[in-house]
């Protein structure tokens, strides 16, 4: 497992306690799994994504990822409608490991309440929390 000091948690993103990241892109929010999650899960072999048009509340399960016979749930960082999903993950789920903040993104959300972004953690808060569990 990566040491906390080795984790890459970019400054311009916001994070959930369950290690989803969210990036505000104009009025939309792009979402994926952070470096801690992809490292913790190991080689991801399957990603199950929702469909564009689906609507979820903050905290609801919107996707699952499977690695080494383990299925993990992923939770909405903010509520809203899915406007775009990363179909490349169907053929290449390993992108989540290779490029968690780039080609390994999961979905883009049209947030129903953009102020929910303020409830998420900064990279520093996320690191502090991880240090607390050591």
């Amino acid at each position: 497992m990566k040491e906390i000091s080795e984790l890459n948690l970019p400054e311009d993103l916001r994070y959930t306690e369950d290690h989803e990241w969210a990036r505000l892109e104009e009025d939309k929010v792009r979402v994926g799994l952070d470096d801690y999650a992809q490292d913790q899960l190991g080689d991801i072999v399957f990603v199950e994504l929702p469909q564009a048009g689906d609507t979820f509340k903050k905290g609801e399960v919107f996707a699952t990822v499977e690695s080494v016979k383990a299925v993990s749930e992923c939770y909405m960082p903010v509520g809203g409608k899915i406007v775009s999903v990363n179909n490349d993950l169907e053929e290449s789920p390993e992108l989540v490991n290779k490029s968690p903040y780039g080609d390994g993104w999961f979905v883009v959300i049209n947030p129903s309440d953009p102020s929910e972004m303020d409830t998420l953690m900064t990279n520093e808060a996320c690191l502090e929390k991880l240090k607390g569990t050591e």
Binding site: M1, G42, D43, V71, S72, E73
Partner: protein, 229 residues
């Protein structure tokens, strides 16, 4: 890992699949909310049931749904990883409910440790089982002796492993094990040509859980644990 760390251990005997599933779900929730402050393992057997993992489908059954219905065996789709599997009497099941983040354990390390527990357990009966790059679990040649399927919810793992002790091989012929063709299934009984004491296997699993995970188990009962929920 800290040797003074303690996990709770509950031996449940035979429990119907749906009830064990509900119990796991409540324990995951209680563990997440810190209502239970320790990791827990459940040891049990199920009545005959086929379960399909997240990506499993009926196509991995080689008998019809109607035939199963007549045999009184249900098929349940669950959230764990892996494809199809069969549970029944004579198969030892272990469901650990562990906070993987608090344990600072990667999922792949966790799965490897479950395999290690099974490999060390069957070795006590002289069975040499191995990992196989085709599929997780433990194998004797190209026959599967123990399976693994895990789910993770809010960082807490559930579902777990199943080890074929004395279980009848009959029902495994009704499916393609873990979705793989041209592989088979075996049991400790089949490998040794004699029945094995389930309680001794259970004891060996507990001992190896302690050594492989570097923890101590505290035996408790379900009513005792439920008092906390």
């Amino acid at each position: 890992m800290n040797k003074s760390k303690k996990w709770l251990c509950i031996e449940l005997g035979t429990l119907e699949y749906g009830r064990a599933w509900d119990l796991q779900t409540s324990l995951v929730d209680a563990r997440k909310k810190r209502i239970i402050d320790r990791d827990v393992i459940l040891l049990l057997e199920h009545n005959p049931v086929f379960t399909l993992g997240r990506r499993g489908g009926m196509e991995d059954l080689t008998v019809s749904r109607n035939f199963l219905k007549k045999s009184g065996i249900s098929v349940i789709q669950v959230e764990r990883g892996g494809v199809i599997t069969f549970h029944g009497p004579g198969q030892l099941i272990m469901y650990p409910i562990i906070d993987l983040n608090a344990a600072r354990m990667r999922v792949v390390d966790y799965v490897e440790r479950l395999e290690e527990v099974m490999i060390m357990t069957v070795a006590e009966w002289g069975i040499i089982a191995e990992r196989n790059s085709l599929n997780r679990g433990i194998w004797v040649g190209n026959k599967k002796l123990g399976s693994i399927g895990i789910a993770i919810r809010k960082g807490i793992c559930f579902h777990g492993m199943s080890l074929n002790v004395n279980i009848s091989m009959k029902h495994f012929g009704w499916m393609n094990p873990c979705g793989l063709r041209e592989t088979g299934t075996t049991s400790m009984k089949q490998d040794l040509s004699q029945k094995v004491s389930m309680s001794k296997v259970c004891g060996a699993v507990k001992k190896h859980v302690e050594s492989v995970f570097g923890i101590n188990l505290i035996n408790t009962s379900l009513p005792e644990l439920l008092k906390k929920l």
